[in-house]
Amino acid sequence: MLRYIIRRLLYAIPILIGVSLATFVLFNVVATPEQIAKKNLSSKNPTPEQIQEWLKDHGYDKPLPVRFKDHMTEVMLFKFGKSDATDEDIWGMIKVGVGPSVSLMVMVLIAGTFVDLTVALFVAYFRGTYIDAWGLFLCVLLMSISYVVYLITGQFMLGRILKYYPSSGFREGADVWKFLLMPAAIGVVSSLGQYTRLYRTFVLEEMNQDYVRTARAKGVSEDRVLFGHVLKNAAIPILTSVVTQIPLLLMGSLLLESFFNIPGIGGMTVDAIFSQDFAVVRAMVFLGSVLYIIGYILTDISYALVDPRVRLG
């Protein structure tokens, strides 16, 4: 297993180089560094040499090839340098932001998967009846609502009408869950339609397999068949879809965190986008890609864990 992981990581290196190449090209065709400098100096009237100083400070003044070399070496070693807007060390900002982001993500992932799976099994159990038909149609309805609309109405409902939990902000300590519950609820509901339908399909595919008929022929009860045999087999595609959600969630929480003022990585990236802070966005694109690649590797490993037939060569 370890050998397989190492090999996959080595495969990842060229891709990471490709990604950092792409980010470099993308971000150096944008607004001239002078404009970025002026924006970030934010004093009423920055003098020309102040701008020059800022450029030197952030390394924008070197010629393109030199900047390219620096960029590639720095990014590969995760040295992201300083943010354009706030001069903070980006790696420090990320370290601070990881805590809330991960806790939110874990909450949404676990609650989401549990809810989606329960509803999917419920609907699959009643396949062929009205529950199945209406359940499916409801899923398509939920899928068609835009994510932003979920956020706006969700926050309005939870903040102004229900008032169960704080509708924004964040605080470490014991009751951190009080701040994460509302955003997590919205995160779960917004992805409910799509994943319930997906899981239902996995379960139904397994229902029609021969071994189910064998199990019934053995006199095994319907529940054992569904929750024992079918669920264990359906777990394979379900687990892989859950694992692929992880990087998506970390990035998906972009809007969730900025809507609910949770100081996580997502919120930080949205601020960077609003203030055209290219250093941070560039770092996040790279970090996002690393997470995606790890996500893909996790997916393959999860195959082996769940499905005895798969051997990681």
Partner: protein, 337 residues
């Protein structure tokens, strides 16, 4: 008079419509599609959603035909001439007679079915103008992404070796960048605008289609009829175009139709990040984004959000339902519903 018509935006929809009709008729002759159409016709849900989509398309076409009366005047589309209402001062509730949210409410020029937004534009009119943007987003992006993906996919699948590795590498790099961030980066580079948005969405959405078409091409390349065609001395390109492409079409059409809803939804997210379309282009994303502030006001201003998200919801629902129905009609094995 000739120079007063904005030919590009007026003719574009008709050209697209004509192309679609021709394609449909040619496809109708092939057994696969005629069977699919027959099944579709019998599916009531599919027909309703098709009707809804064509209604949106009609509004979009109305919004495309534009001309100006005199040299100095600017272009106004047919829809503007029909649906445009006089601008009010600021917000006003549906069917109200006075503005809301002002210290001294001012009387309105006329009643508005769904009220007006912050700058006084009639909400119904704005929603109608959103149709064109949404359909362009869906249509133009697919127009950009699909040929690109097909070409790369087929090249990779058919020729293999270095072509395959190159396309796979690009594919892997692009797909390992989170789609939201890739979109954001592209929009920051390209700037705001419907065309830029289409290009950005196109770049992010061609990856999955490319992988799909590569897989299919690989499958078909091994089939005997391809080897037979090679034996007959047909050139590679002829084989690709005449033989492999028609086999890819069903899958491609299905994945494009299913992808449309994702494209339309993406616009709302980008508008929140202020990377969507500029304010003067009517777009539901901007309306929804504005609604955040409106909901916080007292009295709550809900009609902007309601109409924009309603219109978006109905269109996306129609795309989803029609996409599923089309997939089931074309190839029941692919059924996931």
């Amino acid at each position: 008079m000739l120079t007063n018509v904005d030919w590009l935006s007026t003719l574009a929809p008709f050209v697209v419509l004509a192309a679609m009709v021709i394609m449909l008729r040619r496809a109708g002759r092939t057994p696969l599609w005629s069977e699919a159409f027959r099944r579709l016709r019998r599916n009531p849900l599919a027909m309703i959603s098709l009707a809804v989509i064509s209604l949106y398309a009609a509004v979009a076409v109305l919004d495309s035909i534009s001309w100006r009366t005199s040299k100095t005047d600017d272009f106004r589309t047919l829809l503007q001439r029909i649906a445009e209402r006089p601008k009010e001062r600021t917000y006003s509730a549906p069917y109200a007679t006075v503005t809301t949210g002002e210290p001294e409410p001012h009387p309105l020029n006329e009643k508005h079915l769904l009220g007006t937004d912050g700058v006084g534009n009639d909400v119904v009119y704005l929603t109608l103008r959103g149709c064109r943007t949404a359909l362009i987003l869906g249509g133009l992006t697919s127009l950009i992404a699909t040929p690109l993906a097909l070409m790369f996919g087929m090249l990779a699948g058919y020729f293999g070796k270095w072509a395959d590795d190159a396309v796979l590498y690009i594919n892997q790099v692009l797909s390992s960048i989170p789609s939201i961030l890739l979109l954001v980066a592209l929009m920051m580079v390209l700037g705001k605008g419907v065309l830029q948005l289409c290009i950005a969405l196109g770049v992010t959405s061609w990856v999955s289609l490319c992988r799909l078409s590569r897989g299919e091409t690989l499958k078909h390349r091994e089939r005997e009829y391809v080897r037979a065609a090679r034996a007959l001395g047909l050139s590679h390109t002829r084989i690709l175009i005449r033989h492999i492409l028609p086999n890819l079409l069903p899958l491609v059409i299905i994945s494009v139709t299913l992808g449309l809803s994702g494209l339309v939804l993406a616009e709302a997210i980008l508008s929140y990040l202020q990377l969507g379309v500029p304010p003067e282009v009517g777009s539901w994303g901007n309306m929804i984004n504005g609604a955040r502030v409106e909901l916080a006001r007292e009295p709550v201003i809900w009609w902007g959000l309601a109409s924009a998200s309603g219109a978006l919801f109905v269109l996306v629902l129609a795309f989803n339902v029609f996409g599923d129905a089309l997939r089931d009609a074309v190839d029941p094995r692919l059924r996931t519903g």
